[in-house]
């Protein structure tokens, strides 16, 4: 399983904003465990909210990493807020928009808006608000050694950037 919860980056403005999408597919195993048929209740496959948070963390994390040319190891450090108003079912598209609030040597804080796009109509409606904080881990863990290579921004992320047309 590949731990990449984004399909494409639509916009990336250095240090300011990142927009990415994730298409929700019935082929994804995780949807069928969440939630399976029980008794008289039919199955209700929806994208788990935890993975939507992960999708926003990846969107915002790319924005934070890109702002410093992916030289920092950017780690999700805090979920300031995560409120959901809808559920993402198969056949819809999740659109993550991350905006930078603060960025310095120690880390960053970001505001996230998540929308759900109905593939039949193209109409977008609110899905969630997710505000996150990231740590530049090498700057904040005095005395703790991390590997030299950037284990956060792996080939999976670089491939995503490349296929989204972002250098």
């Amino acid at each position: 399983m590949r731990w990449i919860w984004l399909d494409r980056i639509l916009e990336l403005e250095r240090g300011q904003r990142c927009v990415a999408i994730k298409n929700v597919s019935a082929a994804e195993e995780v949807l069928h465990d969440h939630f399976p048929k029980t008794g008289n209740h039919p199955a209700l496959p929806v994208m788990p909210n935890t993975l939507i948070i992960e999708g926003m963390a990846q969107t915002a994390g790319i924005m934070v990493g890109h702002a410093r040319d992916f030289k920092e190891k950017v780690i999700l450090a805090k979920i300031n807020k995560a409120t959901f108003t809808d559920a993402a079912t198969p056949g819809t598209t999740i659109r993550h928009t991350a905006t930078m609030l603060n960025l310095d040597d120690r880390g960053a804080s970001c505001a996230g808006v998540v929308e759900l796009i109905d593939s039949a109509t193209g109409v977008a409606k609110p899905l969630a608000h997710i505000d996150l904080m990231f740590s530049h881990v090498d700057q904040n863990m005095q005395g703790i050694a991390f590997p030299e290579h950037n284990f956060v921004f792996t080939d999976q992320f670089m491939d995503l950037l490349a296929r989204s047309g972002i250098n």
């Binding site: 450090a77 805090k78 609030l101 603060n102 040597d105 120690r106 880390g107 804080s109 904040n140």
Partner: protein, 129 residues
């Protein structure tokens, strides 16, 4: 117009309610950030970012809570801050009241010094710059 002490306290209170998810009445001047309000290390960066926005100030790294002394072996011996280390902390954090902590200057007890009152004093000093 300069903010009064009460206005600074109320705005710091709002920042802490938002950053730590605590109730307003928990944020008293004497409340300790970690022991009483549950702040963890990343929360200090969150609080710094929010204070910057709330008061339109710029807070440098280690300015609010200095970590460099505690991580410097010349200032810490067997978990206790040396007299030179204490002097360094007093110079770097004039907004912190270290008088009680100095009686037993253990590194792990320094967190007790970081209370709401101290944050208000810090903001006040930044606004005066």
């Amino acid at each position: 117009m300069a903010l009064s002490e009460q206005e600074i306290f109320e705005q710091v209170q709002t920042v802490l309610v938002d950053a730590l998810g605590v109730d307003e009445d928990e944020v008293t001047p004497e409340a300790k950030l970690d022991a009483d309000l549950g702040a963890e290390s990343i929360d200090y960066l969150d609080i710094a970012f929010r204070l910057e926005k709330q008061f339109n100030i710029k807070i440098g790294e280690s300015e609010m809570f200095d970590q460099s002394v505690l991580n410097d072996p010349q200032y810490v011996q067997d978990g206790v801050v040396t007299p030179a280390g204490i002097a360094e902390l007093e110079a770097k954090m004039p907004h912190a009241d270290l008088s009680q902590w100095k009686q037993d200057p253990q590194v792990e007890k320094l967190g007790d010094v970081f209370d709401v009152q101290m944050l208000c004093k810090f903001v006040q000093s930044k606004l005066g710059e």
